[in-house]
């Protein structure tokens, strides 16, 4: 560790995870979600089945809230309830919540109105519904959290970056509590028209034509797009302990880097990802050999999975710690992905079980990783690395470890 990093470490406060909430294609609520991760994957595009916004909103507010912001609030509500309520000075309680594309469905709907009926019929709610910060703002308003309330927009890395930034706010002393995570909902047909999000991702050729998510498999042909949301309650560790909170895990470190290379393709050899993983380890004050498991980005695209595998080998050796990608089940929910994966890590620590990489039948011979497949694998909880890499060359890593007094 560098001197600067050591210095930062000594001054820093510890950060506990005290609540989790999930809205996903494989289950809503933490238990259903983890069970879903260990069960066969849903088929095709991964929509959240039977999501009823009126369970979280009165009907009028539900109408005025885009689906991604509904997921944000629903996940936050579950996480706050799970944490046993909010215990912090409102000015020292924040929200850092990510999304990739915000209220794309609302935008599509209102473009339809504009074209069909003209400018005078466009909803005055369009901007507050579609803006990327609508989810974070809705959480802050509902629970009257008056500290920093910000949105991270780094495509598929936004959930992970949000949690990293929230961690920093508590570690550095600005906040005692932060609601964090990410949400995405950009795949539903709107007013009888096909989803513009699905159309765009399809034409990028990033999506699987087979409709099967199979991270690290030799036959992988792209990601299966998904929607969802996940939220964490992070609290300063000693305060959480003092109030007798259930502490799921400790956020040990985080890092963020950019490839500065290409808008969608990862840098050759995964150089940006390597730098990010190394910085996250340094931030956590850990050596590579102390990482007991990696929750990979593992999107099931040919380029990502190979670059990520090379990067992991470079940092952790061959094959390195056991790796899983829950995207075999969840598909790729963009900004929600990193948050869902953080929740998967936290529940893996609690249950001492790594969920398998669904869809992986035959490991790509060019990928030299110990990928968990076939069924959940027991493990002895220790520090876990979670990776997210986003279009734009955004890399995010978190290190999360078991609770320890």
């Amino acid at each position: 560790m560098t001197l600067a990093a050591e210095h930062a470490h000594r001054r820093r406060r510890r950060v506990a995870v005290t609540g989790i909430g999930v809205v996903s294609c494989c289950g809503t609520g933490k238990d259903a979600f983890f069970d879903g991760l260990c069960a066969p994957a849903p088929q095709g595009i991964r929509r959240v089945p039977d999501f009823d916004p009126t369970a979280w909103f009165d009907p009028k507010v539900a109408r005025q809230t885009d689906r991604f912001a509904q997921f944000s609030v629903a996940a936050a509500a579950m996480a706050i309830e799970d944490a046993g309520g909010l215990h912090a000075d409102p000015l020292r309680a924040g929200v850092i919540f990510g999304t990739g594309v915000g209220g794309l469905e609302t935008l599509q709907e209102q473009l339809g109105v504009l074209i069909a009926k003209g400018a005078r019929r466009v909803s005055p709610r369009l901007v507050p519904m579609m803006m990327a910060n609508a989810g974070a703002a809705a959480i802050s308003m509902r629970w009257e959290l008056r500290g920093p309330c910000e949105t991270v927009v780094t495509a598929c890395a936004a959930g992970t970056h949000s949690i990293g930034n929230a961690f920093r706010l508590i570690a550095d002393g600005r906040c005692d509590l932060v609601i964090t995570g990410g949400a995405e909902a950009a795949i539903n047909d709107v007013g009888g028209q096909p989803s513009i999000g699905v159309a765009a991702f399809t034409n990028m050729t990033a999506m699987s034509t087979s409709g099967i998510s199979r991270p690290f498999d030799v036959r992988r042909d792209g990601f299966v797009i998904a929607e969802g949301g996940a939220a964490l309650v992070l609290e300063e560790y000693e305060r959480a302990e003092a109030r007798g909170a259930h502490i799921y895990a400790e956020v040990l470190g985080a890092a963020s880097t950019a490839d500065a290379y290409h808008i969608t393709a990862p840098a050759p050899g995964g150089s940006g990802a390597i730098a990010c993983m190394e910085l996250a380890l340094e931030d956590a004050g850990l050596a590579p050999g102390q990482i007991t498991h990696i929750n990979g980005h593992g999107t099931s695209t040919p380029l990502n999975d190979l670059a990520e595998a090379e990067a992991i080998n470079k940092v952790f050796g061959n094959p390195g710690p056991p790796v899983t990608s829950i995207k075999g089940v969840t598909g790729h929910s963009l900004a929600a992905a990193g948050a869902l994966e953080a929740v998967a890590v936290i529940l893996s620590l609690e249950r001492q079980l790594i969920p398998p990489t669904d869809g992986l039948d035959q490991l790509d011979p060019e990928i030299h990783l110990d990928v968990v497949t076939g069924g959940p694998r027991p493990f002895s909880p220790g520090p876990v690395l979670s990776n997210s890499f986003g279009f734009g060359g955004h890399n995010g890593c978190l290190v999360i470890g078991p609770a320890s007094p």
């Binding site: 009165d58 009907p59 009028k60 009926k117 005078r120 019929r121 909803s123 005055p124 709610r125």
Partner: protein, 79 residues
């Protein structure tokens, strides 16, 4: 005022946009106090009325319109 059918149409716009029970949409109900409508709700409501009644309401005409009855008068004056 116009007939019952006209008021029914007006009321169903209010019920749809403001998400209030039909029996609260009475002439003396105030938008902000009784129907919990903010300024954006009123813009949406007026848009719905314009569409339902095929009328045009200028923003300036909404000055001083605070109750259901006032809004209904405004609409029927244009029919």
């Amino acid at each position: 005022m116009a007939d019952d059918a006209t008021f029914d149409k007006f009321r169903s716009c209010a019920v749809e946009v403001l998400q209030v029970p039909a029996d609260k949409v009475i002439p003396e109900a105030s938008f902000s106090g009784d129907l919990d409508a903010d300024s954006l709700d009123l813009v949406e409501f007026v848009m719905a009325l314009e569409e339902a009644f095929e009328i045009t309401v200028d923003e300036s005409e909404l000055q001083g319109v605070e109750t259901v009855g006032q809004a209904y008068e405004l609409v029927t004056s244009k029919l």
